[in-house]
């Protein structure tokens, strides 16, 4: 019978990504309830030394595939490697991060393992010995409680939502052969964006702008606030469609669905599709001139005023507080 709660650890450029620790901590919690072990799969090149760090967050065993063919990440190579070790060891639960890479990998794994998966979950628990995954649907307009009848029971976890808990284990290392064939895809180039830019999907704090920002140059004061807060800058569909901001920064039903600790909506009226994409944020601040804007119905703190006056003043106040 399938046994063990497993995660796929995500690393990039030789460093584990934060979502890996969120996965490990969550898997530990589930495994303790089931009385099972936590396993992690780690794929890449020259990454064996990263395995110990997973032990710190409760991983009992790390299955490592170390090969130049696994760097950089391709769907093809990583899905082949992970599917192989999963089939050989038959875990009952497999958790993957719902990051860009994790979404790609996990969906391919569903195909290779012929199972089911709850995508982008915001909570997971054990009910009657089985995984119960809670996930937003319709970009958060409703939620679904998902059970997976296939094996392993797969879920991808939304980054930045699950708590990281230290729980040191020795983390035994088990090397395995990835069993790769001729590669079907390769990465020709990685075009990195400016260093220090935080992706909205992974940010703790997002400063977001909409039509009320009035143009690309209006985002300057949002960038300044974001820099002080260590925040990502997001945008509404209106701002993206107007060409003021890049598509990857769009928050909403046809963009990214986000759950930061703090979401500061500036000049965003709050179309249903935008509200859906950010309503699971812990705290929402809205700054808008129009007191009737729907965004205020979702905001914990609302400021009815000109954002071009409020935002710079607020940036100054935050600077004072953080000094």
């Amino acid at each position: 019978m399938a046994k063990g709660v497993w995660i796929v650890a995500e690393q990039r450029d030789g460093a584990l990504r934060k979502v890996s620790f969120e996965l490990a901590s969550t898997a530990r919690k589930l495994a303790d309830q089931l009385g099972e072990e936590v396993g992690a799969v780690l794929c890449g090149s020259g990454i064996e030394a990263l395995a110990a760090a997973l032990g710190k967050y409760g991983v009992d065993k790390v299955f490592v595939a170390d090969s130049p063919a696994l760097e950089p990440y391709t769907t093809d190579a990583h899905a082949t490697a992970v599917a192989k070790v999963v089939k050989e060891n038959d875990p009952s639960i497999l958790l993957v991060g719902a990051s860009a890479q994790g979404k790609d990998l996990s969906a391919a794994l569903v195909g290779k393992l012929a199972t089911g998966m709850a995508t982008d979950c915001t909570d997971v628990k054990i009910a009657d010995g089985k995984l119960l995954a809670i996930r937003p649907m319709y970009a958060g307009k409703c939620f679904g409680e998902v059970v997976v009848t296939g094996t392993p029971q797969m879920a991808s976890l939304r980054p930045n939502v699950f708590t990281i808990v230290e729980n040191a284990k020795a983390a035994a290392i088990v090397k395995f052969d990835a069993g790769l064939g001729e590669p079907k895809t390769k990465v020709l180039e990685v075009q990195k964006e400016a260093a220090g830019k935080i992706d909205v999907a992974e940010a703790n704090v997002i400063v977001s702008g909409g039509r009320g920002v009035k143009g690309p140059e209006g985002f300057g004061i949002l960038e300044e606030l974001a820099a002080v807060l260590g925040a990502a800058v997001g945008a509404s569909r209106a701002a993206v469609d107007a060409g003021w901001r890049a598509q990857i920064d769009q928050v909403g039903q046809t963009g990214k669905v986000v759950s930061p600790n703090l979401y500061i909506a500036c000049g965003i009226s709050g179309a249903i599709q935008h509200l859906a994409g950010m309503s699971s944020s812990k705290y929402i601040v809205a700054v808008n001139k129009d007191a009737e804007a729907p965004i205020f119905a979702r905001a914990d703190y609302g400021v009815v005023d000109d954002l071009f006056k409020v935002v710079p003043a607020f940036t100054g106040e935050v600077k004072k507080l953080l000094a």
Binding site: A100, E145, K184, T185, D305, V310
Partner: protein
């Protein structure tokens, strides 16, 4: 070139979603149904490839009778024929069962490239394109924002956190489309007229020889957790005063800065 575009019909982005009282699903009454926005990018890219290389575009859709409207929309945009897989056994199908049905339909004719949206904006599951690629045993590239085809070679750009990857693969393959790939066209009036006469093949799961067995299910739908009412900050009437009060509340009450 034989091009396939998979489409799904979903509630419009402006739709309010109400959960049925017994949590078994959502209330469908009054919903305006549209083509999944991400699938529109797939259909558009399929049409552009046809315009460049010649060939035929087939749209495939899994869903009940109402989805014919979405198939006709794709035909009106310029696709040549459709396949509608309408089977009650697939109405609440998960990604795996849906992809199984799509794979069976796609396999019935030659194909060079298959487009899907990167996710459907109803169940937000984002798995079908990748599973389809696995079931067909061909490469898949997800979240494409740029696509170039040269002979059998395929070059795609896909964003990840903080970078853009340029990925190379070969035909046949599955591409999942996202915003940025193109600007989908609107159906023209002559297009709409012509679409009425284009052939649409009707299939059931049994006719395709698939079991339609889901590997996961939504046991219960719930409304989103209610948010407590917020406060409007009006410490004094100046923007500076409001900004100071906001900073204080975020620091001392919410403890988020």
């Amino acid at each position: 070139m034989n091009i396939v575009a998979c489409v799904k019909q979903v509630p419009d982005t402006e739709a309010q979603i109400k959960v049925k009282a017994d949590g078994s699903g959502i209330e469908e009454g009054g919903i305006k149904w549209v083509m999944n926005p991400y699938d529109e990018y797939g259909v558009e890219e399929a049409l552009r490839l046809k315009e460049k290389f010649g060939g035929e575009v087939t749209v495939v859709c899994v869903g009940p009778a109402r989805t014919m409207e979405t198939i006709r929309t794709a035909l009106a945009m310029g696709a040549d024929k459709g396949i509608q897989i309408d089977d009650p056994a697939l109405y609440n199908a998960d990604a795996y069962a849906t992809a199984t049905a799509l794979a069976a339909a796609v396999k019935s004719a030659p194909y060079d490239i298959i487009f899907c949206g990167q996710r459907a904006i109803d169940d937000d599951s984002g798995q079908v394109g990748s599973i389809l690629a696995e079931l067909l045993g061909i490469p898949g590239v997800t979240f494409a924002t740029k696509l170039e085809i040269d002979g059998q070679k395929v070059k795609a750009v896909r964003p990840i956190e903080g970078a853009q990857l340029v990925i190379e693969t070969s035909l046949p393959c599955v591409i999942t489309a996202t915003k940025g790939l193109n600007e989908p066209r609107y159906a023209s009036l002559p297009g709409i007229m012509k679409a009425k006469k284009k052939p649409v093949d009707m299939k059931t799961a049994a006719a395709l020889g698939v079991a339609a067995e889901s590997k996961s299910k939504v046991a219960k739908f719930t409304p989103p957790p209610a948010r407590p009412p917020g406060k409007i900050i009006c410490a004094d009437d100046t923007p500076e005063g409001k900004a100071a009060e906001l900073a204080k509340l975020l620091r001392e009450e919410a403890k988020v800065i």
